[in-house]
Symmetry: D2
Subunit: 336 residues, 4 copies
Amino acid sequence: MIIVMKSQATEKQIEEVIRWIESVGFTAHPSRGVERTIIGVIGDERQKEGIKQAQRLEGVEKIIPILKPYKLASRESHQGNTMVTVGRVKIGGPEFVVMAGPCAVESQEQLLEAAYIVKKGGAQILRGGAYKPRTSPYSFQGMEEEGLKLLEQVRVKASIPVITEVVNSTDVDLVESYADILQIGARNVQNFPLLKKVGHATKPVLLKRGMMTTIEELLMSAEYILAAGNPNVILCERGIRTFETATRNTLDISAVPVLKSLTHLPVIVDPSHAAGQWQYVIPLARAAAAVGADGILVEVHPHPEKAICDGAQSLKPEKFYQLMDELRAVSSVLRH
Amino acid sequence: MIIVMKSQATEKQIEEVIRWIESVGFTAHPSRGVERTIIGVIGDERQKEGIKQAQRLEGVEKIIPILKPYKLASRESHQGNTMVTVGRVKIGGPEFVVMAGPCAVESQEQLLEAAYIVKKGGAQILRGGAYKPRTSPYSFQGMEEEGLKLLEQVRVKASIPVITEVVNSTDVDLVESYADILQIGARNVQNFPLLKKVGHATKPVLLKRGMMTTIEELLMSAEYILAAGNPNVILCERGIRTFETATRNTLDISAVPVLKSLTHLPVIVDPSHAAGQWQYVIPLARAAAAVGADGILVEVHPHPEKAICDGAQSLKPEKFYQLMDELRAVSSVLRH
Amino acid sequence: MIIVMKSQATEKQIEEVIRWIESVGFTAHPSRGVERTIIGVIGDERQKEGIKQAQRLEGVEKIIPILKPYKLASRESHQGNTMVTVGRVKIGGPEFVVMAGPCAVESQEQLLEAAYIVKKGGAQILRGGAYKPRTSPYSFQGMEEEGLKLLEQVRVKASIPVITEVVNSTDVDLVESYADILQIGARNVQNFPLLKKVGHATKPVLLKRGMMTTIEELLMSAEYILAAGNPNVILCERGIRTFETATRNTLDISAVPVLKSLTHLPVIVDPSHAAGQWQYVIPLARAAAAVGADGILVEVHPHPEKAICDGAQSLKPEKFYQLMDELRAVSSVLRH
Amino acid sequence: MIIVMKSQATEKQIEEVIRWIESVGFTAHPSRGVERTIIGVIGDERQKEGIKQAQRLEGVEKIIPILKPYKLASRESHQGNTMVTVGRVKIGGPEFVVMAGPCAVESQEQLLEAAYIVKKGGAQILRGGAYKPRTSPYSFQGMEEEGLKLLEQVRVKASIPVITEVVNSTDVDLVESYADILQIGARNVQNFPLLKKVGHATKPVLLKRGMMTTIEELLMSAEYILAAGNPNVILCERGIRTFETATRNTLDISAVPVLKSLTHLPVIVDPSHAAGQWQYVIPLARAAAAVGADGILVEVHPHPEKAICDGAQSLKPEKFYQLMDELRAVSSVLRH
């Protein structure tokens, strides 16, 4: 941590700050500049939160943290890439992984039809929500446990692993008994009791970035899961909230290479929620493959015009097959 | 809802859209304009989500919802102002209400000292967190149930109602047994299982706007609580996330008059979390009183430099007394 | 400036960085921490831009500037408050100054009627645009020089100073010959040729913050004017662009105390452009007075429903009189 | 345009609004819904700004514009893609166009060296700034006319077309006499006098989206140039300002397909300014090619560590050659 003193700070104030730093167990390293003094604070600022109260001392202008606040998620702690294994699928390895399916589980017919489309296109994992976090209390909230059972049936029948969302810490055990990957949605990225709970699960966790979560905060949320003992975390960029309204959210495509440099965890992209309109999903998915993501999570529905939710952003089967062809083309020249 | 057709939409496409609208139980009201046709859709769009899939029909450019998505929270459903009563305090009435205290419950001494300061200054409610949602898993997470017990002791000793945060649906019953007001924090504003749970509580709920939440979404979250049966909801503006980093968040002061025009619920302001630095708390609190808020939630600590969390934004006792004097001055000329 | 080395940086890389710092005329002050080395760079980083290229050196993680990039605008360079004098009006002194009038100059009748309303209400300065920066090339672009002449006539007839916008460096001399204060609009806050030009003017400049300008960038733009020789700069917060669409922009009310702490220049607020709807203008103006602004710039129109532009956000005369009464009440208890 | 009446609007208010609409030359088309009446307003709302003042009428809740505010830039007015021709280069056609070079013209040696690198890599156009809009008045402001002369010399010697920025309407004629493409920078995207001026130029214009500009506003700015008579406008996405600080700006990659659907103009991407760090430029450039952009504008410097500006985001020659190889690979599978 660095403490920047005000330009008018007195020598006495500087000495008080140094004394205080040492009294709380750190080492002070002052550096007198042209206009002001800065004081390097040596010690692990993550271990002792109280050090931040230095900001209250007389003559202090501001404090600047230096250490990254996450450890287990950082590439510094783990140089190689983490690969998350789900059956025969490896996320974060050489293969570009596609998780596809409807927004919500609606019926066995719908889900089974979706599963066959997803498999036929060549995707590796089936998605489908049984618990739906909805902005309105009057909207469809998902089929809940019944939806989980349908997922399980289709998972076996179509022989494909499934990913599904969990929205409440009390449901984690139940969802884990049905799903291959637990999904944490954007609105729960800082639901810390839920993060701790899935940190104790044995299944991998896909953690979506929130609409207004910084990349650093996303890594801190991953740290909650890792620190609780679950090493299998997949990060997912799905668009952030900005002033632009032409798309539902603004896909922060740069987050992929930034995350790749900061962390060893796999990073995928959800172009469907970012775009909000199916027309933009295919180009955004191509961009995700080109920028270096490890895969995508994409909404496909056998009949989007009848979908209970997110019909506008779901791909029809033929568009999904086109997407898969284009992704294979991009991957063939970039991933080896 | 209004359906805007593309300028090149054919007559056949328009007719198909009209037929579809009627097939799902709504009435279509087309209007041929200079460049394009728009179709008014008459019926309650909140009742039937499927109507949104109209966006998938051929020739449709976009759909524009007209009805507000919330009902119980709207001023249209309830013309007068809702007053929330906590003991002898009425929030949303003529009095400007101050809820003050430390970020976290740290010890009985600290909390009792804070309570006396808060009462001496003239504030009506004591705040203090027993469960703390923290960005880092390595930060202090609150004293939890022990903290609730300290709150209860001080509440009785100092004879002042208390407000405290609840972060998990499984803790609601426990927190409710100790607190006078249940606080839902910014990160949980769209934690729908938690909202439903406090919707069944008998104590009032203070609902903080999230950093990323629009005013409409905040009202939808309030709607979750109201729809579950709890009519006593207090809304709290606490700053939104923007590109500006000079303050921790950007206090959206306009949200107060906007909310006042849209809803009958009381609206208060948290200047401490918005500012992130104590120097700005007093002017922002004055602005809150002047703009027409019903009160504030403010952090005060007997010894901010020793605070376990949020010391930088907590007021010292003398600054708090100054704040209370200034608020009384502003209220005296504006609230009657 | 501080250079933060990567945690894996070698001793050789650290030495190279130190050598490089010294080769460009600065002094290096390394500090070996627990996980990484940081190097304090002593010297005036504002004088030599090239120092920023340190970021390209091997082993460097990031650089952190310490000195504020503005000098003349900073409170450190000028402890007292700057007062800008326009006739008998002093902006930045004990009086709360109101600049009011229509968005655009439309006709002599309109402007004269506005001037009498403005004076009757007790405002000190008349606003009115002759050059209008409009998003659409098909919108009214202002009466231009003809509008300036009308301003001049009304200025004399009603005996009130006027403020009007200048949008092009080639118009500065002309506008200066008519106006008492030159206004730089939000979209021109980083139009550097225009800033340099008004920096050579003899009339005071009101500089509006852009919709996406940080507070620091606003001060850098003020620095352009100050550095060119014009010391009379008034800053104006008028709302920033965020994800919230309930108001036209989000009034960053906190910018007022932040600017007051960073600079000696007067700071006013434009509640009309921030709100975009007249209903919210009065509470926001009260908030501006309460938060410590030196005045407001507000749109008033004799007949808003006939206004050529910004009718929705203009106050009618009776509402303006009410506003002035409320501002006097707030100022009476806070400004002395 | 649609006028949404308040739910409590009286029949008399509705009639008044209809009468008013007709009095200003439009046709009213009311539609009585379940909760409120909406009134379709038929006529070209772009021709008569005054229609917006309908918002002031009694009983009106809000107005919703339906027509796009731009005409010449819209795909509806011009179905095919516009190709902008610069010598033998066609921007917006089947070829992916790369414009590369240093941030600023620094010397003949530097520029000539850059030109050879750019040509060797296979890029079609040389970039280099002679006028630099800088946040600080103390930063290097460009070599100005001298820089233009160097550009001209290198343009001839290396036989490559050049693009350079113009920052002031008074410089347009001069810059036009040297450059093949006139660049309007992000900070000038709403400098309307400058847009009008380049609208009268005979050279093509590359218009950068501002940090704060919506896609619709960008198209309105293009409309200024088109309406003044210059049909050769190239749009450039270069990152918008958001809360995320890990990159200099947030590249809005979705803007490419959105623009492609709304306009016939070519769309390119500037990955250098979006990223702010060279490490992220290559993946973002690949994403630009994959998402369907017509080209990129990228910073390359023979010796980035000695660059006067933007050294941190400039590619070294070998990295630039790698970028060109990767772009060719992506284009080979996607552009045909």
